[in-house]
Each structure stands twice: as C-alpha cells, then as structure tokens.
Amino acid sequence: MSTRIATGGRLLNKSNAVSFSFNGKQLRGFEGDTLASALLANDQMLVGRSFKYHRPRGIVAAGPEEPNALVNLGQGDRFEPNQRATTTELFDGLQSESQNHWPSLEFDVGAINKHLSRFLPAGFYYKMFIHPRPFWKHVYEPIIRHSAGLGKAPKDLDGDTYEHFHAFCDVLVIGGGVAGLEAARTAALSGAKVIVLEQTAHWGGRAPVDGGTVDGTPVGAFVDTLVEELSTMENVTLRTRVMGAGVYDHGYVLGYERLTDHAPKTAGPRHRLWRIRAGHIVTATGAIERPLSFSGNDIPGVMLAASVRDYLVNYGVSVGDRTVVVTNNDDAYRTAIALTEAGLTVPAILDARVLPQDSALMARAKDLGIRVMMGHAVARVTGGKRVTGVEVCSQSGEGAVLETFPCDAVAMSGGWSPVVHLWSHCGGKLTWDTAGAMFRPDVNNPPLGADGHGFVTAAGAAAGFFALDDILHDAHAAADGVATTLGFKLPADAVSPNADRQEEAPLAPVWMMPQGANVKLREKTFLDYQNDVKVSDVRLAAQEGFVSVEHAKRYTTLGMATDQGKLSNINGLATLAGAMDADIPAVGTTTFRPPYHPISMGSIAGEARGDVFQPIRRTPLHDWHETNGADWEPVGHWRRPYAYPRKGESTHDAVMREVTNTRSKLGMLDASTLGKIIVKGPDAGRFLDMLYTNMMSSLKPGKCRYGLMCSENGFLIDDGVVARIDEETFLCHTTTGGAESIHQHMEEWLQTEWWDFNVYTANVTEQYAQIAVVGPNARTCLEKLGGMDLSKEALAFMEWADGTLGGFKCRVYRISFSGELSYEIAVDAGQGQAFWDALMVAGNDLGVMPYGTECLHILRAEKGFIMIGDETDGTVIPQDLGLNWAISKKKDDYLGKRAQQRTHMADPTRWKLVGLETTDGSTLPDGAYAVGEGENENGQRNMIGRVTSTYHSPTLGKGIAMGLVLNGPDRMGEVLDFPGTDGKTYQAKIVDPVFYDKEGAKQNV
C-alpha cells in the first residue's frame, strides 16, 4: 500500500493537518502536500479511468507531466474540471472527484472498452463511423460525445476574478531550479533587470531531492542561500507559482500565476496572466523523465522513478512497501537507494543495460544489499487496480519469464527529456543527442527576435546537462553570455559555483521492453496514458502509411491530450522510427505549441468579462434614457435608445406612437453619437472635394450640404451633412459608426498620400451633445427657450447658426433626416442633460416625446432617405441608390471615381434602389429576395432583387420598404414575389422610394 512514513517530507508543515475530500470520502493531509501526495498518503493509488478503454489509472508523476491524475475540483461557481492532482496544492476543505467513469471509479461500465480494445485500434473512429453518412450526426456523434471527454463542464458562472499584468525586464529566467537561480544571479550581478518565474511554490527544482554538494554545502542549503541573496537584489523579481506558459515573437512571454488556488479564501484575483517583454529569455525548465514501454506499464502503482523519490523526500510518502525499479540509466538507482535507506524494500533493480563495470551509484545500491539484475527487463506487470507483481525477462529476448517478483509498486526510468517546449514555441530548433537519447536545443538555431538575433537561451537540464556541476556551469555561462549580448558586464569576481562530481554510467536507449516484445505484450504497452495510445497503435499507423510524425500523431492521437505528450512524445517518435526502420532525428518531432501546460480560460480573458467585457459607449444623456425606460440598441459600442416603451406598452406600439407624435407634434432624438469632425486649413475645400463625391469647396460659410463618401474601390462608405464654418473650416457629420473610421480615413489620406495638403482634422464627436428637435412644433419649442431668431428667413433649411437658446451656448443646424421641420442643436456635452431637460419643459405643452432609433428609421424610410449599413453593404455604389445628384460631374477626381468607371460598376443591370409596397399592406420580411423567371445552374430560383429596409409606417398605415431591384426604376408599378422564410410569399409593387411628402413641404416651413 502507499502510505505516509515517519521520516521525510521536506515540503510539509506536519504541525498543520488539513482535511479534504476525494469522491466524497474525507481524507487528511498536511500543509505543503499536493493533492497527489495526499491521495498517495491515504493509499488512494487509483485516481481515474483512461479516456478510451476506461482502464484503471494511478498517479504516474509528481509534476505537470502527470497524464492520469485529473480531477474535478471545487463546487458551484468554483467548480473546475481536468485539474492535475500533482500541481494542485492541498488546502483545508479541498473537494475533488475523479473523472471519466460511470457509475463509480471502482466499478466502471465503460471499462468494457478494454475488452474491446482489439476492435478499437488507431483510426478506429475514422474507419468505423464514416458510413452511412447521416449516422454520424444522428447516431454516432451523440453516443460518442456522451462516452468521451474527461471532466464535467462547469454549470455556473465563474465566481472568481482574473487579471493581466504587463511587465518588462532585460532577462527573464523561466524555472527556479538551480540552473534558473544561478542564471538569475549571474545576470543580476551583471546589472540586468531580472525576473525569475517558478511554476511551483518552491525554489530549487529537483536538486534538493537528488542531492549533492555545492562548494561544500548541501545543495538544499545552497538553494536557500541563493534565493536569499537574490531576494535582496533591487534588480531581481522572484515569483513562485508562475508558470512560463508560452514564448512568442520579439521576446514576448506569457506567465501564468496562480494566486489563490492554494488558498481560495484569499481576497483578490484567482489567476494573473503576466504579459512579459524580455530582452532575452533563459529557459531553465529542467527535464522530464520518460516512462519505459513494457506491458502493463499503466497499471496503478507503476510510476516514474524520480517521482517515487519526490514523494518520498518531499512529502514523506512511500508509494509501495515493495518497489521494483526498472531502468536504462543510473538515475533510477537514486530512487532504489532512497527507498532502501527509508527502510522500504526494493526486491530488485532491473537494468536493461549490460555494462563492463559498475558505476558509483550501482556500487552503492549493491552495498545496500539491493539485487541488481543487468540486462534484464519487465516482461509484464501484473495487477488490475493495483500492481501485484513483476515478471522479469531478458531485455534482449521476446519476453520469456525468468522470475517473478511480488510487489506493489514499480519505479521506471527510461531516461530524461529536456523541457524544450519554451525554446521551441517561437521557432527554436532541436538537435538529437545520441548519447543522452534526447532532443535538446540546437544552440545554432535559436528563435529570432526583432533584431534578427536569438532571444532564447536554454540552461541546465533544459539544455541537456544533468550533472549538478555541469548544470551550474552551463547556467552561469549562459547568463553571462546573455548579459553580454544585452550590453551588461559580469564583474570578474562573480564566478560559477562548483559542485562535487559523481561519474555516471551512460544511458542505453530502450524504446521497447523487452526488445522483441510480441504483439500481445505490445497491446498492453502504453505510450500515451491520457489518450490510451499503445505501441501497437503507433506501429499500425506506420503500417497504414502515416509515416509523417504529424500524421501519425493525429491518426493515433498520440500527444494530443491535455498533457500534450509530455511523457509520450519521445517514446512515440522512437516507436514510429523503429516501425519505419528510420533514425529518430529523421522522423523529427511534432510542433511544440503554447501553452506549456493548460491555463485557465479566465486568465486569458483577464478583466474582460461581465460589465467590462467590451467598452460600452454612453452619450451624455445615457442616464436619462435609462431612467425613462429606453429599450437599448447597440450601435457599434454605443448604446442608443431603440424606443421608449411606456408601462404596459409593447416596443412596437411605442415606436408607432413615437412616429405619429413626431409627425404630428414634436419629437426629440439624442443624436450625440453622430460623428463630428473638424477639417481646417487652406486646402480643406480641396481635400473634401477628394473625399466626398459632391463638390464641397463651393459650399458657402453658414450653409450645410449632404455629402457621400466612397472608398477608393467606389463603394459607398459613409454619408452626412457638412457645414462650412468659415472660409478654412468645415464640420463634417458622419454616421454613428463612422466617426472614428472616417476620421482615420481622412488622416490616412492626409498623412500617406496628400501630405502636401495644408489640412488639420480633429474628431470632436464627444465634445457635443447633439439633440434633434423634430416636428411641426419644433420651432415653437425652441422659440420658447428664446435667444435666437430661428424663423424661416433667419435660418433656412440647410443652414446653421451659432447662438444661445434658453441661455445655453449652442450651434443650431437646420437639417432634417425625417422630412419634418427639424433642428439639430449641439451644446457642450457637459451641458447636454440640462439642455435636454430645458427642451422637455419647453416642449411639455407642445406634445414633446423622446424618440428612438427605430422611429428615426421609419421617419427616414417614409422619406426615402438611405441608411448606411441598410441600403449599403460594401458592394453598393451611390449610382445604385439613385444618388447621382450628389455626384459632382465637374470634378476630375474623388476617391472612388475611377473605380466607378469600371465596366461592372457602369453595368446597366446593377440592381437599383426602388420603393416597395406590399399589395395587402403587410410588412415585407427584412432581407427577403425577389424571385424572377427561371432557375440558375444550381436549380435555385433566379433572384432579381432584395429588401434593404422594411417597416410598418403608421403614417401611411401600411408596410413600406426599400430594395435593390434589377432594372427597378424602369419597372414602376410591377408586382414582385418575395418568398419569406415563414413559407408565405409576399407580393410587393415597385414604387417611388419617397413615400411621404415628396415636395418637402413639411420640412421647408
């Protein structure tokens, strides 16, 4: 059984016992435990079921490489699935559940899949579920979805908050092991500003577990001293619980900080995503031990040898009473020695190598009385939910059992792989190290930065150095080099520490155990624990022609689970290479992509959720609209009132009321969102002549003119009223959505094409609250406020004037988007609410009502005025809309002119704007298409037009619409068919788009 022992546990605070639950069972651990170590201390070796075959699975590792121990954590708005027990720090009250089983972890119906595994080989889904086609959507997918997947999806809104943080430094060190700390010290002594990120809560990495002495001091004490020294340096920032998640272009790094996962009652955000820009990055990310490929290597109790040692030393947990060690290298001997010294039993070390003489570690193991069996291997591990024994064979054979050891744990080591992920994220290349049987960073091909030089340097084990002395020297030299590149200088007295050296015997690559394992053994030999990919699957993929490593990966799903193949990739590649009889470097690796380890969605969103998911732009009158019951319509980031329904009134009825009231009495609209851009300078007229299709330079000061703007591609992009303020100054109104884009459009042409024009622009949209006062009573209302002569003679249609109304300094534009007598009045935004209030009072006995955007739309549609975004969609030119009157014939050039001369633009068969009136008074569906004779080549009805705007007009008591129709203006009176999506076909007559007051009698009073 696995249990807590009396000794060891350097990371534990044994004076603080904490309680937690696993599958509803109350268990106890200590402060400093991970969930994994606490589960093992409680003999909970079985922690989950595998993804495909639902095989019982136990904890394999002690760090982020763990493939099996995924749990659901927390409850309610703190629930989160797929959390790794090995990276989850224990806290009092932690609640966890195992995943991927039904009805229970101990008894799982899905486990029947393991008996069907012969029928579920690689590519099974692709082969099986392809026919008959409709079955995928209706039969296969629903069932597969039900049985697949890991944890449950959270049901509640996330109760935590998250944030981003931008940090800058000269040297970013990722990894707080001895290499990272020494690199940081060296860079910092050179004068660089240094940040060190460590993903766990502890400094020193593996070194304190693996042991050794540095300049005569035990490595644990050396680490403590180093951290102490660094924490006093002004130019060093040390951060634990921050994982280097990804390395991106130009020295950009994401760091994932877990602030409260270990202490959920703490105030503040749960995760912080560090967005770091570094002059140079040192990846001191260590190495990950590889499993060995033997039959039954996934049975709970089979663990990585170094992890067995971690649990013993760091957490005082013995994973088994009798542990067989199996290895192809010296490092696993440390585990055997540590276990034996802790009083536990190691029946044998099975070492696949055959060596001429013993190394120091071997000699030490033998001295302790451990039986070392060279050239031997695991033929098969026996057991179901727990290891019961190991059958031993010769590594060179086919698996004939020579001897059997009863045991309850197996510690395996297939060698070490440097963590090259961060080096590789941004294009760093790898090289195959034959001696170490590993890929390590190719120092000649680093990722390149903004200056074209490498910006990442790997150090220590991440660079392929494993002896403590080598690690320290490499880290020191790497950081010295980095600092020098950045222009810093290491003081001459700052030298690398030296560690004692212990020569180790070389590793022998072992990719299959035993070498000649038969199919039966290979079918129980797992490469990827999380996705249940076996040696036999990879061989099958190769056999079926998936010989590219990227294809084999996708076909077998090797390395595609949430652990991204941290344990399985190299073994998988080697297996693929073996099956193809190729060299491993020739097969290559799959692409390493960020993040290194899954990060929370919340951390990616940062603050951007809820009220601040995106900016909401508010006009100066926003609060009034809200208080007065506005139904909101999003227009870009603005919120504009759609209508103001009264108590008991439907929104539609409110809109009808607003239209009727504005036509008959007085309406008020918040028009503040309309863009207002000042264009000033000696060349302002010339510039606007290029921007608008109309002639603007001929506009007289005091007058307004409606103008159209096109893109260089000829398409209509914006419209609005231009007022000439003085000889050199124009004020251009744009659409609500166009304020920023048209201002940028102007600046782009001024800065990048016509930089010789003397023109300045200023976007003053938000300086003003602009209120449209509309309707027969508009003038009377304003006259009640008093201060300006607004008579027809003093301020005619399409004129503007500055003055005061009711004591408010304002600018009055007599313009109309409704066909009514109408004034748009701009006051400083800070005066907007007070001015609106004054207007409401003045209009009180004149029948004033506010109106919203839908009323505005109906009013303009009744008049046949186009709306950018309704009548235009980026493919419509002004000529399509009957706006030729607004296109100057006198100008040689304007943006879009040349484009509009192209044959397709001048084609007489372009659809043109007309009015549409249903024969029965109903309202046409928005976006409906008119169908004509015949069918197109796809057997669809030929289309001859479409509805661009459609409303019920309370003024006319019927449905009115505008649309673009083939030869429309020549087909007045013709009735077209518009099939709706509701099964009905609507009939509408082609009419003039101006439905109401064509003479303009109402606005020109």
Binding site: Y248, D249, H250, G251, Y252, R277, L448, G449, A450, D451, G452, E712, N713, Q744, E747, E748, Q751, T752, E753, W755, D892, D893, K897, R898, A899, Q901, R902
Partner: protein
C-alpha cells in the same frame, strides 16, 4: 506579437498599439488610368517571403502613420521610417543590405 518603434513619437510599443496598413509605397492611379494600372494599384500586392515594406499606424499612440521594413519570415524589423516618402530611404536600404546581403536592393520602391 511584434514590437515596433514609431518614428514619429519614438515609442517602442507592442503590436496591439498599432494598426497594420498593408503594403507601402503604392502609387495611386485615378481617373484617366488604364484598367490594368488601376487593378494593379487597387488589388495586386506583393507577398514576399523575406524583405517587405509596409504601412503601420500608431493608432493607440500619436495617431501617425509610418513605414516599416520587415522580414515576413523571421519577423526581423530592419527599421521604421516616415510615411511621407514614396521611396525607401537609403539608410533603411543600408540596414537591410547589412542583414540580408543577398537582397536585391533594386527591387525596393
């Protein structure tokens, strides 16, 4: 995510503060130009693997446009320079030649 230095205000900022504006040094063709000229101007763009001249706007900063000479493959930035020029300045060409001796300077606008 790139970093660029705006030559107008001198700030080195990350890409989120800028807006990319496509290929630089296009010659505008208006009324009177042939269909081919207009098509070339409006639609046809170089898409080199390697040295590229492009337009950027410091949209969240000084608001000004500028030009950048950049390697589309390695993302190396050779330099940034004023938007008010229709040709690549010599010092930028020198910087590119320094880093890419095989590059044909004659292909620069």
């Amino acid at each position: 995510m790139l970093t660029l230095t705006c030559p107008n205000c001198g700030i080195t900022a990350e890409e989120t503060e800028f807006h990319a504006g496509g290929e630089a040094h296009l010659k505008r063709f208006g009324p009177g130009s042939s269909d081919t000229e207009f098509e070339q101007y409006l639609f046809m763009r170089d898409n080199p693997k390697g040295v590229h001249f492009e337009r950027w706007r410091h949209v969240y900063g000084c608001g000004k446009w500028f030009h950048a000479a950049r390697d589309t493959m390695t993302l190396e930035v050779f330099g940034t320079y004023t938007a008010q020029t229709s040709t690549v300045p010599q010092d930028i060409i020198n910087k590119i030649m320094d880093r890419r001796p095989d590059w044909q300077a004659s292909t620069a606008p």
